[in-house]
Symmetry: C2
DNA sequence: TTGTATGCGTTATCAC
DNA sequence: GTGATAACGCATACAA
């Protein structure tokens, strides 16, 4: 690992000049530039980002904060990460996934170190303590998701209200009147996306004069099975289900089949916020609302970098609904 | 973000003394230690790792290199990551997931920067170019997986040969004589784990005088479906399948059911290298060989940190087989 | 036990 | 257009 000093010596220029050509900071004669570049190549130089970070006060490293310890990293979440990291690289940053609890302490430590230039928060809760922690430490951040009061925050988010309305309307158009809604349970309720989706569903059902059937179960296939095995008994008149619980749906469909509930003939199912990958794992293939993970990962990084580079610009705030992807789990009401 | 200098001023000691108490490097009187600690608390000090890294030449950051751009991050892979990051934190390091292509260039850049103290490689191929890149840059690394010649490398790996032998033996014990073996295709063949597993299966089948039925398909549910729909026709005598292709298995089972092939009555299936989560997503619930992800993530970090801290110690090299977990997809031969 | 001083590799502000 | 040089925050050999 050659240093700038060594490159400078070999090229017989000053260390400052090397810095200028490395960063393109100032004009340098073609002749000397060439000498420097040759020296760099000969020595296999690459600039030490630690030194650069110390001098500049910035590291060009972004962290995606995911409570990976507590939450499973779903295939959907992964789509955010991969597109975000690609976009970050395009803009000259490194984005890494920093597994971290969602308690304030760990966030605070990471933020206080100056190791990262900014943070991208996933799995945002309505009242998310990480927001205050980052704010206190004056670390630029953006949310993928929203708190309950996001007006003065930078965020990009899935427009679940619009997505739920679309799913609900499509089912209505197919003649369904008794449409249930499923989410995760426990901590999921404090999740901004879940809370907003539930609200929207309730409003839509009420507005159309249909019953509100709010379901929840843990986010794993086993809980889905259990729910499915007692579904028909508990909800004999329900003909459609909007399921915002990706991991539970496969188990749910299996149990329904065992109980003789045919999908979609007896029950139409739309999986809210999923991926083609997950939708292909069930029988029948799921009709789903695709999470715009690739788009939002990219937008999230853009929002964050904009916050870092132009803090005075208007706050980036963007919503994007899911896209309806037809599968085989939806039919018009018998 | 208070600096050591500020802490020193407030505690009325020298900056060196602050460093001593922060790192426990040298003895400090209880009285002055207390003064320093009070000052740190008052100022909310936390040491700037960039400065520390520059001075010490080490960052205490480890990177898990995962070709996340090209490969999907499976639920199984995630178990490695979460346990590895937890273990790293226990030993005073930060482990982050660094999404990176598996071409040499990106690895080389990251390694040359001095930003990370070490790297943990996943999805290791038989002839993995990243190994040479890291070696050239003299960055300590450990593999989760193995190349074809791993003798002089630090690694931990799933003992797929042992696991495949166990699965095969169990099926034999249940009376199965025509046992097929499924893996991913294309690039998967260059994957150390896949290559070794295929070899082992072939040897086991041959040794027991049974036919060798080597199958492969892409690692997604759709490919599994396609395979399942023509399975019975192409392999009329096969009564058992060892499937080392986690994402394809759900689709495979669905298609088999459509074709009237009953699992496990007509075909026993063992999913090789999977998680309870994935196993619960199919009907019937899969019998599977559990990938020891949590254990290996931890071991991998230990191996890496040992390489960093005691480079002269013997190379850590450990294997751990999968654990058989009974589900409902295996039966004795009719 | 504590303080002083130097260096880690880079950036950026001055001079020249 | 190029060169000295002072930060950046911390660790540590050496002095006291």
């Amino acid at each position: 690992m050659a240093t700038m000093r060594e490159v400078a010596a070999r090229a017989e220029v000053s260390i400052a000049t090397v810095s200028f050509v490395v960063n393109g900071t100032k004009k340098v004669t073609d002749a000397t530039r060439k000498r420097v570049e040759d020296a760099m190549r000969d020595l296999g130089f690459s600039r030490n980002p630690v030194g650069a970070a110390l001098a500049r006060g910035r590291t060009r490293i972004l962290a995606m904060l995911y409570p990976a310890v507590e939450r499973r990293l779903s295939p959907t979440a992964v789509t955010f990460f991969t597109s975000a990291s690609r976009r970050a690289r395009e803009r000259g940053y490194d984005l890494v996934m920093w597994p971290i609890g969602d308690d304030t302490a760990q966030v605070s430590v990471l933020a206080g170190t100056g190791l990262i230039d900014g943070a991208l928060l996933m799995e945002v809760r309505l009242d998310d303590p990480r927001v205050a922690a980052l704010h206190d430490r004056r670390v630029p951040f953006a949310l993928i998701g929203r708190t309950s009061e996001p007006d003065d925050l930078a965020y990009v988010d899935v427009d679940f209200p619009a997505s739920v309305r679309e799913a609900h309307a499509r089912l209505r158009d197919l003649g369904h009147e008794d449409i249930a809604f499923l989410t995760g349970d426990g901590r999921a309720f404090s999740h901004g996306a879940v809370a907003r989706a539930r609200e929207t569903y309730e409003a839509a059902a009420t507005a159309s004069g249909s019953p509100v059937t709010m379901l929840s179960c843990a986010e794993d296939p086993g809980a889905g099975r259990e729910l499915g095995s007692r579904f028909r008994q508990e909800h004999p008149t329900t003909t459609a289900l909007i399921a915002m619980n990706e991991p539970a749906v496969p188990g749910l469909l299996i149990a329904l089949a065992h109980e003789g509930v045919r999908v979609p003939d007896d029950l139409s199912v739309i999986s809210m916020g999923s991926t083609a990958f997950m939708a292909g794992m069930t029988d029948p293939r799921l009709t789903f609302m695709r999470t715009p993970g690739p788009e939002l990962g990219e937008w999230g990084v853009d929002a964050l970098i904009d916050r870092i580079e132009t803090p005075d610009a208007p706050l980036p705030q963007r919503l994007l609904p899911c896209e309806y992807v037809a599968g085989d789990s939806v039919a018009s009401r018998g």
